[in-house]
Amino acid sequence: MDFFTIVQLGDASVRMAIPLLLACLAGLFSERAGIFDIGLEGKMLAAAFVSAAVSYTSGSVWVGLLAGIGISVVLAIIHGIASITFKGNQLISGVAINFFAAGLTVVIAQGWFAQGGRTPSLPQDARFNGLDFPGALSRMRDKMQASPGMQFYSEFVSGHSILVYLGLLAVPLSWWILYRTRFGLRLRAVGEAPEAVDTAGISVVRLRFSAVIICGILCGIAGAYLSTAVQAGFTKDMTANRGFIALAALIFAKWRPWYALGACLLFGLFFAIDIRFSNIQLQVIWIMVLLLGCAAALTTYAVRREKIDVIVLGGLSAVLAAVAFTAWFATASAEGISILAALWETVKVPSQLIQSLPYLFVVIVLAGFVGKAIPPRAGGQPYVKER
C-alpha cells in the first residue's frame, strides 16, 4: 500500500467521520444533560432532505444549511417535549422521530419534486464544495504525481468542504463549553443529579431544553453535510444508520469530546476501508487463525465465569469454529485441491462481512470489552419530583 493510498484512506476516513462526529457531539450534549437520544438518525435525515431541497430551490447552500438546522431543531424540541415536559420514554420518542423522518422525507420529496422521493441533483453552486488551500492541487491525477508532502497537504489537509473544518473545530469548542463555562458545569450537573441543579435554583427544564436544541443544531449540520457536501442532493435513507453508529461512538468515547473525535475517526476508517477495498483477499490459514483465535479467547473468558457465559460464549465459539472449517473445506472442494493445500489458498472475504465491520465493532464496543463506560447517572430517566 503506497503512501498516497494511505493518505487517501485517511482523507476518506475524515470525510466519512465528520457526519458521525457532528452527530456524536450532538448526542454528547443531549446525554450529558440526561436526555438519551436515539433520534439522531432521524434528525440528520430530515436535515439532509430539507437542506438539499431548500438549497435546490433557493440556490444558496447556506440558506439550505439553515433550513436543515431548523428542521432538526424542531424535531429536537419535539423530543424535548416528549421526554422533558411530558416525562415520556426517551427511547420510544427517539424511535418515533426516526420513523417520522424516514417516512416524511420521502413523502414530501415525492410531493414537491415527484422524483421518487429524492431531490433533484444540486447544481455546483448550491453545494458545499471543497475548499482548495493556497497551492494545493485539486485534481486527483495531479496529486498522484506530486511529492508525498504535497500529496498530504493537497489530499488530506486541503480540499474538504468548510463543514469538515467546522466539524473538527466543534471538538475543542464543545470541550471548552463543557469544562470551562458555567453553562457546561450546569449541563454536566443536570445529567448527573437534576435534583441538585433544581435545589441550586436552576431550571432543570430550561437546561435540558437548551441541551437538546444544541443537539438539534449539530445534527442539522451533520445532515446538511451529507446531502450538500458529500452528495449533491437527497436520496432516501441516505444517513444509512450513521446516527446509531454515532451513539456507539459516543459510548466508546465515554461522553468526552476529544475521545469522540478519536472514536468517529476510527469508524470513519471502517467506512473508508469498506469503500476502498471492497474485495479483500485473505489466505484461508489466516481466516482459520482469526476465527479460531476469537473462539479460543471467548471460551477461555467464559470458563472462568458462570453457566450462562459458558453456554452463550461457548455456543458462539462453536459457530465461529464451524464457519472457519466450512470455509476451509469449501475452498478445498471448490479448488479441488488437498485439504492442506487449501490452507494457503487466498479467498475473497465476503463483502457483506466487510460492510458489517462497523456494526460488529459497535457491538464489541458496547459489550465493554474496550473499556467500561459509565453513562451520566440521571441519563434516560425524566426528572420527576412528584409521583
Partner: protein, 513 residues
C-alpha cells in the same frame, strides 16, 4: 415581642400529591435567631412543608411571609434570594463533582468558571475557619462520608449567605459525636442571629437545642409550644394523638438451640471498600437479636447476605446447615428453602412491586410455592387471591382489597402486607429490617406484636433497626454495628441509650471506661 416580625410565617399551606394530602392548611411562625424544631410521624408532611418553603414543591394554597414581607417562592432560586438554605433529608449533591464545583453550582459569578471557582475556594477557607467546617475543596463527593457530605450541604447554604437554615433529619445519618459537633455549629449560627429549622424524630435533640417546637400529624399542624414548657412524653403524645406505650410488653425470652450461626463474614464491594469486617454472631430459636447502628455501617449488607442477594465470604449456618454464599444457590429462592423469611429494609423498592396488585405481591418471593400452582405449567391465581384475602384480613390491612395495586396503600399498610407474607410462612428464621420505618404508631404496635408472637412460637428473629428505642423495646439481645464490625453485645436490661450510642460511634468499652 410581637413587634419584631417572625423570620418565617406560613399561613394556610396545603399540598396534595395526587391522591395524597401531604399538607393540610398548615400555619406556622418562626422567630428570628431561634432554633425551631418540627417533629411528626413519618409521612406527617414535615419534609413536604419545608420543601415548599424552599421552593422545591409548589403549594396548592397558602401564603409565605419572610421577615414580615409576603414572598412568592415559585422555585428554589426565589428561596435562596430570600436568604433560605436547606439541607435535605436526602442530600442534593452531584456525586462525581468536587466539593468546590458543588458549592459553586448555581451561585457562579459569570459565564466563565475559573474566576467563580477561585473565589469560592477563598470563601470556603474562611467559612471553614469560622465554623470549623473543614472539607477538602477538591475532594470528590462520592469519596466522602455522609457526615462530610452533610458539611458540604451546610457550606452550600452558607456560601449563598442563607440566614434561615432548614435541616431535615440531619442526625439520622450521623453518629452521636458527629451530631454533637453539628449542634455546636448550629449553636454558633444561632448566636450570629441566623434562624434554624430542625426536623428530627429524636425527642432528645428537640429538648437539647430547640427554643420552640411544632408537632405535625397526618399532614396537619397539631401545635407549637415552647420547648421549655414541654416534656418528651407530652410531645410523643401530641405526635401520635394518644398515649404511647413506650415499651412493647413481652415475656422474657426462652432461647433454645442455635438457629442462625454467622462466622467471620466479610464483604468487599466492587469499589474495594470493606462493608463487613469479620462479623460473627448467632441467633437462637425463641429469641430476638437486635442489631443497632447508624445506617450505612454494614447492617443492610448483612441482611442482604442472609437474604441471599449479596455475595460474601465466611460461613453462615442455618440449623447447622451451611449456606452457599457465592455460588448458584446464593439467591433468595434457596434462602427461603432454608426456612429464612425476610422483611426487607426498603419495602417500596424491595419488599413489594408497587405496580403489582396486593394479591400478586402476597406470592412475591414464594411464586414457586406448590400451593400456588395449578399444574406443572400454570399458576393458580385463584388460590393466591384467596390466600391474599385471608392474610389481609388477619393483618387488618386497610383497605382489605387484594385487587388494589400496592402503591395505593399507605406506608404502614404496605408494610403490613410484607410482614403478613413473611411471617405467615412460619419460618425458622425471620430477618426484619427497619420494620416500622414510615409506619404510623398503630401499625407499629401491631407489627411489633406479630414479631414477638413469632418469637414466642420458638422462632429465631434477627432485627435490624436504626431506631434505638425500637431495638431496646423488642430485642432480647442487642449487638451494635459500626464500620462493618460488631462493636459489642449487650442485654437491653443492663444497658442504656448512652452506652449504645457510644458503641454506635465506634467507641469501645475500653475507651469509654
Amino acid at each position: 415581642m410581637s413587634d419584631i416580625s417572625p423570620a418565617i410565617e406560613l399561613i394556610g399551606i396545603s399540598k396534595a400529591f395526587g391522591p395524597v394530602q401531604a399538607n393540610k392548611d398548615i400555619s406556622i411562625r418562626v422567630m428570628p435567631g431561634t432554633i425551631h424544631g418540627i417533629i411528626g410521624e413519618n409521612g406527617a408532611g414535615k419534609s413536604t412543608l419545608m420543601s415548599i418553603l424552599y421552593g422545591f414543591y409548589k403549594a396548592d394554597a397558602g401564603e409565605i411571609f419572610i421577615a414580615g414581607q409576603k414572598t412568592q417562592i415559585p422555585d428554589s432560586q426565589a428561596a435562596i434570594a430570600a436568604g433560605i438554605g436547606m439541607v435535605f433529608q436526602h442530600f442534593k449533591l452531584v456525586q462525581n463533582f468536587s466539593v468546590l464545583e458543588n458549592v459553586v453550582l448555581g451561585a457562579e459569578d459569570g459565564a466563565l468558571l475559573r474566576p467563580s471557582l477561585a473565589k469560592a475556594r477563598k470563601q470556603l477557607k474562611s467559612l471553614a475557619k469560622e465554623y470549623e467546617l473543614h472539607v477538602d475543596p477538591d475532594a470528590i463527593i462520592e469519596d466522602l462520608g455522609v457526615g462530610m457530605q452533610q458539611r458540604v450541604e451546610i457550606l452550600k447554604a452558607l456560601y449563598r449567605q442563607a440566614d434561615i437554615l432548614i435541616l431535615d433529619e440531619p442526625t439520622g445519618v450521623l453518629t452521636p459525636p458527629e451530631a454533637d459537633q453539628l449542634f455546636r455549629i448550629l449553636g454558633r449560627l444561632k448566636a450570629e442571629g441566623k434562624t434554624i429549622i430542625l426536623i428530627t424524630h429524636k425527642l432528645r435533640e428537640i429538648m437539647d437545642i430547640t427554643d420552640t417546637v411544632s408537632v405535625m400529624r397526618r399532614g396537619e399542624m397539631d401545635s407549637t409550644v415552647k420547648t421549655s414548657e414541654t416534656t418528651p412524653a407530652d410531645l410523643a403524645e401530641r405526635m401520635v394523638g394518644r398515649k404511647v406505650l413506650l415499651r412493647v410488653d413481652k415475656t422474657p425470652a426462652k432461647p433454645k438451640d442455635v438457629v442462625l450461626e454467622v462466622r467471620d463474614l466479610n464483604i468487599t464491594d466492587e469499589k474495594g471498600v470493606h462493608r463487613l469486617k469479620g462479623v460473627s454472631f448467632n441467633v437462637r430459636a425463641g429469641e430476638i437479636l437486635g442489631i443497632a447502628g447508624v445506617s450505612g455501617n454494614g447492617q443492610s449488607e448483612l441482611l442482604e447476605v442472609l437474604g441471599g442477594y449479596e455475595k460474601a465470604t465466611g460461613d453462615i449456618l442455618v440449623n447447622g446447615v451451611p449456606l452457599d454464599l457465592t455460588g448458584a444457590h446464593s439467591d433468595g429462592q434457596s434462602r427461603r428453602a432454608h426456612g429464612i423469611a425476610h422483611v426487607p429494609e426498603d419495602r417500596q423498592n424491595e419488599g413489594l412491586i408497587m405496580d403489582f396488585s396486593a394479591w400478586e405481591n402476597t406470592a412475591f418471593g414464594y411464586h414457586h410455592d406448590p400451593e400456588y400452582q395449578r399444574n406443572a405449567l400454570l399458576m393458580d391465581n385463584a388460590a393466591i387471591l384467596r390466600d391474599a384475602q385471608g392474610k389481609m384480613d388477619r393483618f387488618d390491612v386497610r383497605p382489605a382489597n387484594p385487587l388494589l395495586s400496592a402503591k395505593n396503600f399507605s406506608g404502614g399498610n404496605q408494610q403490613k402486607i410484607v410482614v403478613a407474607r413473611e411471617i405467615e410462612r412460619d419460618p425458622d428464621l425471620l430477618l426484619v429490617g427497619q420494620p416500622t420505618r414510615g409506619v404510623d404508631i398503630g401499625a407499629i404496635e401491631f407489627i411489633h406484636q406479630q414479631i414477638v408472637a413469632l418469637r414466642d412460637a420458638g422462632k429465631a428473629i434477627l432485627l435490624v433497626s436504626v431506631e434505638l428505642d425500637e431495638i431496646m423495646g423488642l430485642s432480647d439481645r442487642i449487638a451494635v454495628m459500626f464500620d462493618g464490625k460488631i462493636m459489642g453485645e449487650r442485654l437491653p436490661e443492663n444497658t442504656n441509650e448512652k452506652e449504645l450510642g457510644l458503641l454506635m460511634a465506634g467507641v469501645t468499652d475500653g475507651e469509654s471506661a
